[in-house]
Amino acid sequence: MARTKAASVDVKCSIRAPLPKLSAPCKACSTGPPPARRYDQVMARNPVLHLTERGLYCPAGDFFIDPWRPVPRALITHGHSDHARTGHGAYLATHAALPVMRHRLGPITAEGICYAETRRIGGAIVSFHPAGHVPGSAQIRVQVAGEVWVVSGDYKTGGDAISTPFEPVPCDTFITECTFGLPVFRWQPEAAVMAEINRWWAENRAAGRISLIGAYAFGKAQRLLAGLDPGIGSILTHGAVEATNAVLRAQGLALPETRQVTIEVSAKTHPGALVIAPPAALAGPWARRFGPAATAFASGWMALRGHRRRYGVDRGFVLSDHADWAGLNAAVVATGATRVLATHGYTAAFARWLEGRGLQAGVLETAFGQTEDETAE
């Protein structure tokens, strides 16, 4: 697969969506507006997308976006398990998202699409646009007659070394995630966080300790890999992380050398190594083999001390694949949308905040963020 950026995966398609029209932000409203409305209270009469028991449905095109129950035709934003589920008749996702989906879902009937490539499905015109969440992740734009809706999927505005950067897509209605939709969430630049992680690793290595870091197997793990300094020592991985690495390397993602932890590959053979494992493995018996290791978690939730203390790790590195408060607000403004529907996260607060800023906003109760993604993001 061709690559246009050093470590970017998907990039067969380099056409970008046109620059968005920026609308001016409203003044912060300091008197409390009424509580956020449910989506049906702010929904248009013939909505482009609406919520069903199986997921977000587009009647004009007869398809679903990231449905949580089996449907004939599913458009998938990205490969995380709360968005890409098994059992659908046909899948449509970006070319770069498909390998991981196939790896996770087994044999599926799936078709790939380039970023910004338009496709007519029934009475709808759809296109996928970079979401910057993980390699291959997309926002999905749906146009029916003159009306444009965008489903954000999961996204971050800050960018990283492995995903195609988020692009705002102008629309009338923006369905946005808001996992971190509160002002206590503010991310530092990635480079600063990676420098902290490398420093932590080097200190542990100097003290003769293994560094054990919890990160979601798809996305966060590779993002860490791309930012680690391999000059410090060896990088070992849990099997789940290594399997995903293999899929992404085959796609052309350049990652530093890693070795999967086995009986032969251990703290003894690789003293001072950094080990990347999924969060669940970190808490279980698997992690005990490394002895008194220094432990850490890389997640946006680490912005809260209480969460980090609950996980019982030494360090919490605030590294998220979701937008922070500023990112969410900037993204909403950049779409120029007049109606915003908030899904998974602090939906009620975010919607109410947007209403205070003069937008029509509501909450969309989806099933996203209710699986592994919830804690590990």
């Binding site: 809260l304 001390r305 209480g306 109410r352």
Partner: protein, 530 residues
């Protein structure tokens, strides 16, 4: 505050208590003395006087961050810590400052003397010049409640490492009525600038989980009743009387009848004992509670809730520290002393036994006396500083229990932030559920996480941070006692309620009825026996 912030980060950046001790010891060796002293003060719960209310701080922070108050409140309920919430929502610092911890505290004190606009300006200016960690710490100074993952024992260990003094000596020197204003590091720690009021560190017992048979020969032990009041220390020195609670709070003024009785004690005497509500027999803790918060006590309350100080131990006599002597020797001296004391200073009676079966019977009968079990003390035991395993045991009765329905849930704080952990439980009263208790503890993190998801999906109403939920989940509550209480909707007050287990097997309809709880009240009233 840089050095203090670095200390905080190294304490906060590891879960190993060895590493924490080392980091704190290094700080206590190297930091300037006033900072060391303030650090010790903060870690032992001595904080500068409050400059401003939490409400005002929240208001100013929300304003500075440009967010509405309701959004601040939402953020706070998710972060579970006010200092942290403020540090996180404020825009990044504009300038940097490098001032010491004691310097900042001096600034805060200066602010407390000023009017509100000046205080506001001072705090906003401070926020603008501190990075996120320093801001968090500064806010902690403003709001109180410094823990930093440092328990008392760890702090004493670190101080021992830093000074070469032994831990028990340090534990004693850190007790009592001192503040960085009244002493210096040298006077407090190395010079032993003793104050007349200074209590000894309390000797604490471990719970006895197994049969006492394992404790060996019964004749090596003495037993007393375990009373349910407030553990205290009565200090008579320099012709004055000081009454300390176990939380190291000086409560002398709240219990005038004890102070009056203490005039009968000889100079240079320190007693360990229990502040108990008493009317011929122990009053329930709920009754004593009416006096806990009162700084000045009305004549009516004095009459309604009389208190005594039940003497357990003699720690100092003739101004001599008796703690190293065997318990049996101290007890004999206490008995000799107690022969001629006023009734407000009774001697804690022994529960006499020759074999473990007799003691077990005493324990079973404890409730009849208004006690919650028995205490076992080895005859040869010195009076230890703190909780030391082996010489003192508390052997409590099994708790009462009731199956109650979860009706309200609220998110926790600190490490429970974002989890629903604070619950209100109800019992059936006819067809209605009446709240009887709040409980926060007893479940695993995994269970709390599961209940949190359930609460989110089963919320029927919200009152600020409190969610009303579908009355569906049943929990077995354990509690130490039950008393009538006109202040509670149910007319009942439970003592130390906690969750024993989640009754997944029980539908809400089968939870206990209020009559069942009332029947527990009918337990024979404690008989007078002193």
């Amino acid at each position: 505050m840089n050095r203090f912030a670095v200390l905080f980060q190294s304490l906060d950046g590891t879960t190993s208590s060895t590493a924490r001790t080392l980091a704190l010891a290094a700080y206590l060796r190297e930091a300037p003395e006033p900072d060391r002293l303030w650090t010790i003060a903060l870690l032992t719960g001595r904080r500068p006087r409050r400059v401003i209310t939490a409400g005002k701080l929240a208001e100013w922070a929300a304003e500075a961050a440009g967010i509405p108050d309701w959004l601040f409140a939402e953020s706070y309920s998710v972060a579970g810590d006010l200092a942290e919430t403020i540090a996180a929502i404020l825009p990044p610092a504009e300038t940097t400052t490098n001032r010491s911890l004691s310097d900042w505290i001096a600034t805060l004190r200066a602010l407390s003397a000023q009017d509100e606009p000046a205080r506001r300006a001072g705090i906003l200016a401070a926020w603008a010049g501190l990075d996120a960690t320093e801001r968090f710490l500064f806010n902690k100074l403003l709001t109180g409640g410094f823990r930093m993952g440092v328990a008392r024992g760890l702090m004493q260990r670190a101080l021992a490492q830093a000074t070469g003094l032994d831990e028990a000596t340090l534990a004693h020197r850190l007790m009592g009525d001192w503040s960085p204003d009244t002493t210096t590091f040298a006077a407090l720690i190395t010079g032993d600038g003793a104050q007349a009021s200074r209590p000894y560190p309390f000797c604490l017992a471990h719970p006895l989980d197994a049969d006492p048979d394992a404790l060996g020969d019964p004749t090596d032990w003495l037993a007393e009743w375990k009373w349910d009041g407030i553990r205290g220390q009565l200090v008579c020195r320099d012709g004055r009387v000081f009454l300390w609670s176990r939380g190291e709070e000086l409560v002398t003024d709240r219990y005038p009848e004890i102070v009056a009785a203490a005039q009968a004690l000889p100079e240079g005497t320190v007693l360990d004992g229990e502040i108990l509500g008493w009317a011929g027999a122990p009053l329930p803790f709920a009754t004593l509670q009416r006096r806990i918060g009162l700084k000045t006590v009305s004549r009516r309350t004095l009459a309604e809730v009389p208190v005594i100080f039940m003497a357990y131990d003699l720690l100092e006599a003739d101004s001599t520290d008796l703690r190293p002597q065997p318990f049996a020797t101290r007890r004999a001296a206490l008995e000799a002393l107690a022969t001629d004391l006023p009734p407000e200073l009774p001697l804690s009676p022994l529960a006499r036994f020759d074999d473990w079966a007799t003691l077990a019977a005493h324990r079973q009968a404890a409730r009849d006396r208004g006690a919650e079990g028995v205490m076992l003390k080895q005859r040869t035991s010195p009076y230890h500083a703190g909780r030391k395993r082996g010489d003192w045991w508390k052997w409590k009765l099994d708790p009462f229990s009731l199956d109650a329905v979860l009706i309200y849930a609220q998110a926790g704080h600190g490490r429970r932030a974002g989890l629903y952990t604070d619950f209100t439980f109800a019992l059936w009263d006819g067809p209605a559920l009446v709240p009887v208790a709040k409980a926060y503890s007893g479940l695993t993190d995994a269970e709390f996480a599961e209940i949190t998801r359930w609460v989110r999906a089963h919320t029927t109403d919200r009152f600020g941070p409190v969610r009303q939920v579908v009355p569906e989940l049943v929990f077995e509550l354990g509690f130490e006692g039950i008393a009538e209480s006109p202040r509670h909707k149910s007319g009942l007050a439970l003592r130390f309620p906690r969750m024993l287990r989640w009754r997944r097997d029980k539908p809400a309809a089968e939870a206990d009825r209020i009559e069942t709880a009332r029947a527990l009240l009918a337990h024979p009233a404690p008989r007078a026996y002193l």
